[in-house]
């Protein structure tokens, strides 16, 4: 990740740090539609992108936003949009097209309470929508989940690099709290842009013969395209896993949490350790590809895992599949915009600690 040459920190909202990260990554076009709790991203982009000779458009809808991204990405430049669950729902058609046309871009989702109009509190109920794919067809997209202001910047920059490296849309996904929260962020220098892309439609002689499309009328051709995508996804799964471990070395209980919940659990684990409970945490930073190997290795030593989420347990299956159900996987979740307190999570850990590793 690009974290060299950092400057003294600025106290800044997570949502704004995303825009700074995008600009530092060489993104020069932003297309988006306002929605709480993601609107500061559009607002910051409206200030910064025109000021550096870039483009900001407040689109008429999320549907239009993602298609503007599709058009801009087709010409080979770095581009992005951002929204929250309801808007991401509207973008799913376009994301499927982007995936099949192999267009790099970054889509940010600042999750709020759902389903339906729900509310604007923080939630993680859109894990399935983003990680398990909400659009049509056999595609996947890398998903990075920041849990701090610094990571909002760093992972956005990283997302642009992964998007170009694999020619794929990449998600940065977090909750309303991480978007709204202010923390000190040290911004790095801009990273160099990749060379002009020879596959793009750049409106010049060199690329005139190029076609950006997701149509493969012949069944065999479409199957070949799908197989190509699957090979690409296998590469991503091999190379691009990111996860952080916290106090896992002697852990009998391994907690799995991402985003704001991992922050709460960090506090909880300190409380639990003070009481002598051997608990540690794995924080998936890439939700896809999922840190299967790390979890599998820890499952060989630990007695049980507990997944904490602001949802009905959307990440639980990924944990269970990673460790082949070798040890019990418990779950505790809150929904509707509620975030559990460290003490509440401690009670959960104590309860399961008392039950032990019995299935």
């Amino acid at each position: 990740m690009a974290t060299e040459a950092k400057r003294p920190p600025l106290l800044i909202k997570g949502n704004e740090a995303i825009v700074k990260g995008a600009v530092l990554a060489g993104c020069r076009t932003y297309f988006g539609y306002p929605i709480t709790p993601a609107s500061e991203i559009a607002e910051a982009a409206a200030k910064d992108f025109p000021a550096i000779g870039g483009t900001f458009i407040q689109a008429e809808s999320e549907t239009a936003s993602i298609n503007m991204v599709y058009g801009a990405a087709s010409t080979g430049i770095r581009t992005m949009t951002a929204s929250s669950g309801p808007g991401i729902s509207l973008m799913q058609e376009g994301i499927s097209y982007l995936a099949c046309a192999e267009l790099p871009c970054v889509v940010v989702s600042i999750m709020r309470g759902g389903p339906g109009l729900g509310n604007i509190g923080p939630e993680q109920g859109d894990y399935n929508q983003v990680v398990r794919i909400g659009g049509h067809g056999c595609y996947k997209n890398p998903v990075f989940a920041p849990s701090s202001g610094q990571e909002m910047c760093d992972l956005t920059m990283h997302a642009f690099e992964i998007a170009d490296k694999y020619r794929t849309p990449v998600f940065v996904i977090t909750d309303g709290f991480t978007g709204q929260m202010m923390e000190p962020v040290s911004f790095p220098d801009p990273i160099p842009l990749p060379p002009e892309k020879d596959w793009a439609v750049r409106a010049d002689k060199e690329t005139r013969e190029n076609l950006i499309s997701s149509i493969y009328i012949e069944h065999d051709e479409l199957e070949e395209m799908n197989l190509k995508l699957q090979r690409k996804y296998a590469e991503i799964e091999k190379n691009e896993v990111l996860a952080e471990e916290f106090m896992v070395d002697d852990a009998e209980i391994v907690v799995v949490a991402y985003g704001i919940v991992s922050r709460v659990l960090r506090s909880t684990i300190r409380l639990a350790r003070a009481e002598g409970i051997k608990v540690g945490m794995v924080r998936p930073i890439s939700l896809w590809p999922f840190p299967k190997k790390q979890l599998e290795a820890l499952a060989a030593k630990a007695q049980q895992m507990i997944v904490f989420e602001l949802s009905n347990g959307q990440m639980v299956d990924d944990v269970r599949l990673s460790i082949h159900d070798n040890i019990p996987v418990r779950f505790y979740g809150r929904m509707g915009g509620n975030v559990p307190t460290p003490e509440e999570c401690l009670d959960v850990i104590k309860r399961y600690a008392a039950e032990g590793g019995a299935k």
Binding site: R7, L10, N67, A72, Q180, M182, E183, S213, I215, P342
Partner: protein, 479 residues
Amino acid sequence: MSAPNYKPHLSRSEIFYPTFERKSGNKEVTHYCPGCGHGSLHKMIAESIQDLGINDRTIFVSPVGCSVFAYYYFDTGNIQAPHGRAPAVGTGAQRARPHSVVISYQGDGDLAAIGLNEILQAANRGEKMVVFFVNNAIYGMTGGQMAPTTLPGMRTTTTPMGRDTRLAGNPTRMCELISTLDAPIYVARGCLASPKHTMRTRKLVRKALKMQTEGKGFCFVEVLSACPTGWGMQPVDSHQWILDNMVPQFPLEIFVDKTDLDHDDYIPPKAPSPETFHEVIRIADAANQMAPAQPETKYKDPRIKVAGFGGQGVLLLGLGLAQCGMMEGRHVTWLPSYGPEMRGGTAHCHVNIADEEIGSPLISKPTVLVAMNQPSLTKFEGELVEGALVIMNSSMVPNKPKRKDLELLELPATAIAEELGNARAANMVVLGAYAGYTGVLSLETCLESLKTLIKRQALVDLNVKAITKGFEFGKAARG
């Protein structure tokens, strides 16, 4: 720009590929049905691109519909777009590559039904693109269903008894709709029903494309076109049908022509130099690092909840605490209560200042409560840890906490601020008092933080006084 040399094209335009290699089956012929208008319109566009010499610059956006395969034929840059979204895709491409000539080529279902929003908004923004709108009053590719432009009484597979306008609405007139907008510079309708009409349409196509070479603005050319297959007619009859039935509904006019007017072009700011880049994106002005204060252990690593009415500067006070903590090299977080609650009602925020990395930014058991009004004290008193510090704005909080285990600092913040001339500085009085009372932050840091916190220079003096007064009050109260 000199007038292009329009020669009659006696052979096939060079803008068409010699053979259609992207197409399966016979690569010598198009996929269009006999009598279909797409071939004629493709030809007009190709010849104009050739005459204007713009094929390298052209990005042809193919939509969903029979013309989904336009990229089989046009030797230009090609992008295939999702159904109805060609104007949005074209917008993204054109803004990304401002020298490009973007052509959006759409049918009636694509443009006037599913893509109605995208076309109107792109037109209203005055995107630099030309939209060719093929109106054949029916969905061709999906097998002859009703389109927004289907005529009253016309039979389609989804209006088997004829389009009943009481149930299925009336034909949409797109040129008329778009000409109500201010931005489009050229809006015209032609048809392909006779050689005379075809020649006229050819001129419309050329003019709209030429405007793109000059970067003038949004052009919209609708073309009434036959779909003999969808209509169940012989090609020759279908042309007469256009004249008899479609033209009365969709008059052949030039609705807007502002092509001769001067064009007020937006020129974006130049990209900043590497030296000024950080300044331009506002990340250069990092606050000075200050020497950390050395508080008593009991006040270290505070978890602070700040609460009050909207308008009391509660969020700014929280921000000040976090800013000062950061300047003294500590880990900090600031988390607001966000959303509708912010507007008019009560507001609160959570501030952590800590020596080690902060876990939860959300504070469930505060060690410090700043209560700017009575409801805040009543609401949050219960969640405080034992022995927590309560700074209550005694000017506005008549009733003390019920709990007896709390450490209380009664601070008439609003009254002190009023004495200084502005009640709104009460929040900075609290910032100073917190620093003076607990020693968590130094007075110097609080004053230095104003450079970041207060944008209006006129207010700095007031706030310096407020912080200083508060600091003295806090220090004296601590004894």
